[in-house]
Each structure stands twice: as structure tokens, then as C-alpha cells.
């Protein structure tokens, strides 16, 4: 089946088995290796992408279900001002250690901040509840998102 979608702002298509995981298509066919595979079953959030601006786990989405969708990965998002605000804030808070989970957390933060530009701590923890990080213990990531929402005022 030929599947069309908007990937990081560009119209793209791929001729493939529609049941392939979106994760594999993004990594193997489009070379977008910022999309990570952790658990492969929707538990860890390493494969997070934005679909219509909301986070989704690409390891449990068959690419055929994403036909015509607007998809953004960390590679597309990093060209934005919002990304820069989150990048600086994560660095300031020490929210990145090994970095494997980081693309997922950054996209989860974006998905939250576009709905709620000044989230409280409970809202932040809820927004990242599907993303696992085995390095930081989460507090620095929560702090990073708080800093981004303050210093990135007006971006969201």
C-alpha cells in the first residue's frame, strides 16, 4: 500500500506493508533515528512522535493508520524556537544524562505546553507519565519543563 503523510512539514510517501510499525518506517525508511525503540510496547515513550501536535507512541502505531497524518519527530521539532527553549532549559536543569529518553521527553513537553503554557508540577508529571527515564530520577526533567515555560514565555 502507498502511504502518504506529512513528515516534519514535507509531503512524503512510502510504499510498504501498512502493518509495519511507524517507528521502523521513520528510522529505516526516513533515517530519523531520533525516534528510539525502548520497550516496543508503548510503556516507555522513547519512540514518541507528535501526530497533529499531540504525542503518540510510534512503536504501537501501524504506518497504515498514519496515512495522511501530520507527523513530527524530534528532527523536525529541533528547528523551532520552542525546541531551543526546551533544549536550554533541560541543559540548565540537568535534565539530560544518557539522552536516550530525551527526544520523547522534549516532545511530551511540547505536547503539554501547547495546551497549557504555564503548567503546574502536577500537570507536568501527568504529561510525562508515559515516558521513562532511568538516569535523572525525573526531578530535573520536571524542573527543565518549568524553566522552559517561564523563560520561553510567549513561545507557547
Amino acid at each position: 500500500m502507498k502511504i502518504n503523510f506529512i513528515l516534519n512539514g514535507k509531503n512524503v510517501w512510502v510504499e510498504t506493508d501498512p502493518l509495519r510499525r511507524l517507528l521502523d518506517v521513520l528510522r529505516e525508511d526516513f533515517g530519523l533515528t531520533g525516534v528510539k525503540e525502548g520497550c516496543g510496547e508503548g510503556e516507555c515513550g522513547a519512540c514518541t512522535v507528535l501526530i497533529y501536535g499531540k504525542i503518540a507512541f510510534s512503536c504501537i502505531i501501524p504506518v497504515g493508520a498514519a496515512d495522511h497524518a501530520e507527523i513530527r519527530t524530534i528532527e523536525g521539532y529541533r528547528k523551532t524556537e520552542r525546541y531551543k527553549a526546551l533544549q536550554d532549559a533541560f541543559a540548565e536543569a540537568g535534565g539530560v544524562q544518557c539522552g536516550f529518553c530525551t527526544p520523547g521527553f522534549v516532545l511530551a513537553a511540547e505536547s503539554l505546553l501547547r495546551e497549557d503554557a504555564r503548567p503546574d508540577e502536577a500537570a507536568i508529571r501527568e504529561a510525562i507519565s508515559g515516558n521513562l527515564c532511568r538516569c535523572t530520577g525525573y526531578n530535573m526533567i520536571v524542573e527543565g519543563i518549568k524553566i522552559a515555560s517561564l523563560k520561553g514565555k510567549g513561545l507557547w
Binding site: D17, E28, G45, F57, I61, G64, S129, G130
Partner: protein, 285 residues
């Protein structure tokens, strides 16, 4: 590689179901996990797959005077964002899985998956929800407790699609829901409890109690609920041990990797007593 279909509209989907007996896939958040294989491989499906998650006809929320009709392919997040969805249902949905899964997973999928631990099920039983099933030349509506017959088992025919969920509009002034799991987010329930009631003039005029993950399907007993109707706070206090005993006889949990019989039964009954005594009686005053 199995055949897959991505029909342009709902009627075409019904035709494909009649001709191919396909597996409907809306969000896929359960199917993609249960059918997964090694990393990098497509999940395994023995039968053709029909994508239905994009079909607008089954993604609408349509309220009328007496009911709210929810399209089976509505994402859980879209229901949280919809103002017509009853608050008691939103409370349950907001505790399901994680935001990314709620963005993709659907209410219809949670019902058709028919897990004893399906998180949306106890509240749907309590709300007297019905499901609308459609195939090429037939539409039928069934109460949810008639639709789900066992773990992973429903009466859905192999050419039929669940198209919508109908919830009667009623007002409740007491709602109590607890999901008991290992952690706050993304846990599969060890058990869950849903209590709903309407109190009028110091008495219970309507009450619904359901338990999840403590039997093959959700437990709801209209006979036991009937005992509590028209009762005052004092009368309920006297009935608590009897009601506790009656539910104790119908709650039949299992031991599995998530919990065990003793824990599930003990906590279910504690939540029942908490609901009756602390939530309900204190509300009646």
C-alpha cells in the same frame, strides 16, 4: 503479509467486513502489543486487517435529549476534551494508560478488547451503556453486559463493527472511582471500583456499583443495588454488613502476575464499605 484495507468511508468498511471477515484496527494500542513480534518486524495478524480509526462516521459525539452517543473510534483524549461527555466517565478516562496512549486508543477498542481489567468498563456498566453493532444489512443495540461475555470474548460477529456507545443522560450527585494499580500511570488494574448514586431528600433514589478485574467480566448486581434504593443514611449503615456479604459472594477474582485473590477481594470490599459509609452516608448527612 496479510491483506490490509483502508476504506474511504464507513459503508465501504462494512462491505469489506462482509467479504473478508477482517480484524478491525482503530487505534491499535492493544492489538499492536498483543500481536507484536521481534523488533523491526510487522506484528503478526492471521487475518486481513481493516483500518477504521480514520472513519469520520464513527468518530463523532452526538448528544440528544436523552442520550449521548459516542463514536467507537473516538480517541480517549478527544472524549476528555468534549464538553458533553459525563464527568464520571472523564474521571475514569483520565486515569487510563498515559497521555500518548489516550491520544490514539479508542473507547470502542477498550470495549472490544473485553479485558476483565478494561478500565472503561466498570463505569460503562454503571452508566447502563449500550453498544451499537452494525453489519451490512443489520444494526443491533445491546446493553454492554450482554455484549461482553468473558475475558477477551464478545458477541461481535465476524462481519460486524462496533459503531457507537450510547449512554443515557442521568444526573448523579455522588460519584466515586478508584483504580488500584502498581503505579499511578500506565498500570494495568489490579482491581477497580465504581460507585454512582443520586441522593434526593435524604434518601438514595438511584445507585450503581460495579467492580473491575475481580471476575471474568465486570461485576454489577442490580438485585443488591435494589436493596439500597429509597434508604436513608441510618438504614444504609444497618445494611452494610449484609451488602458486604452479598458482594463477597459474587466477587470471584483470580491469582495472576498482577495481584492475588486475597488482595483483590479484600480491597474491593473495603472500597465498597468506604463508598457506602464514608462517601454516601456522609453525603446524605
Amino acid at each position: 503479509m496479510v491483506t490490509t484495507y483502508r476504506p474511504p468511508d464507513f459503508q465501504s468498511a462494512l462491505t469489506i467486513m462482509r467479504e473478508n471477515r477482517a480484524i478491525p484496527l482503530a487505534g491499535g494500542t492493544d492489538l499492536m502489543v498483543s500481536r507484536r513480534r521481534w523488533s523491526g518486524l510487522s506484528p503478526f495478524f492471521a487475518k486481513p486487517v481493516l483500518f477504521i480509526g480514520h472513519l469520520e462516521e464513527i468518530k463523532r459525539v452526538e448528544p440528544d435529549i436523552t442520550n449521548i452517543k459516542i463514536g467507537s473510534a473516538c480517541s480517549l483524549t478527544s472524549l476528555l476534551e468534549h464538553r458533553e461527555i459525563p464527568e464520571v466517565l472523564k474521571i475514569v478516562i483520565s486515569q487510563m494508560a498515559t497521555p500518548a496512549i489516550r491520544n490514539i486508543g479508542t473507547l470502542g477498542g477498550n470495549i472490544c478488547n473485553a479485558s476483565p481489567a478494561g478500565d472503561a468498563l466498570p463505569v460503562l456498566y454503571a452508566l447502563d451503556a449500550s453498544v451499537v453493532l452494525q453489519r451490512k444489512a443489520e444494526i443491533r443495540t445491546l446493553p454492554i453486559e450482554k455484549f461482553i461475555t468473558g475475558p477477551g470474548e464478545t458477541v461481535l460477529k465476524d462481519d460486524e463493527l462496533l459503531t457507537s456507545i450510547i449512554i443515557p443522560k442521568k444526573s448523579y450527585n455522588v460519584g466515586f472511582y478508584r483504580k488500584v494499580g502498581t503505579r499511578q500511570a500506565n498500570s494495568l488494574s489490579k482491581l477497580s471500583f465504581q460507585g454512582l448514586a443520586r441522593i434526593e431528600e435524604g434518601k438514595i433514589s438511584d445507585i450503581r456499583i460495579s467492580f473491575g478485574a475481580v471476575a471474568l467480566t465486570v461485576i454489577r448486581s442490580r438485585e443488591i443495588e435494589e436493596l439500597l434504593i429509597e434508604k436513608s443514611g441510618k438504614e444504609i449503615e444497618k445494611l452494610i454488613s449484609e451488602v458486604n456479604r452479598l458482594y463477597s459472594a459474587v466477587i470471584k477474582p483470580i491469582d495472576d502476575q498482577r495481584s492475588n485473590i486475597r488482595y483483590r477481594k479484600t480491597i474491593s470490599l473495603k472500597l465498597l464499605r468506604y463508598f457506602l459509609r464514608t462517601v454516601l452516608i456522609s453525603k446524605i448527612g
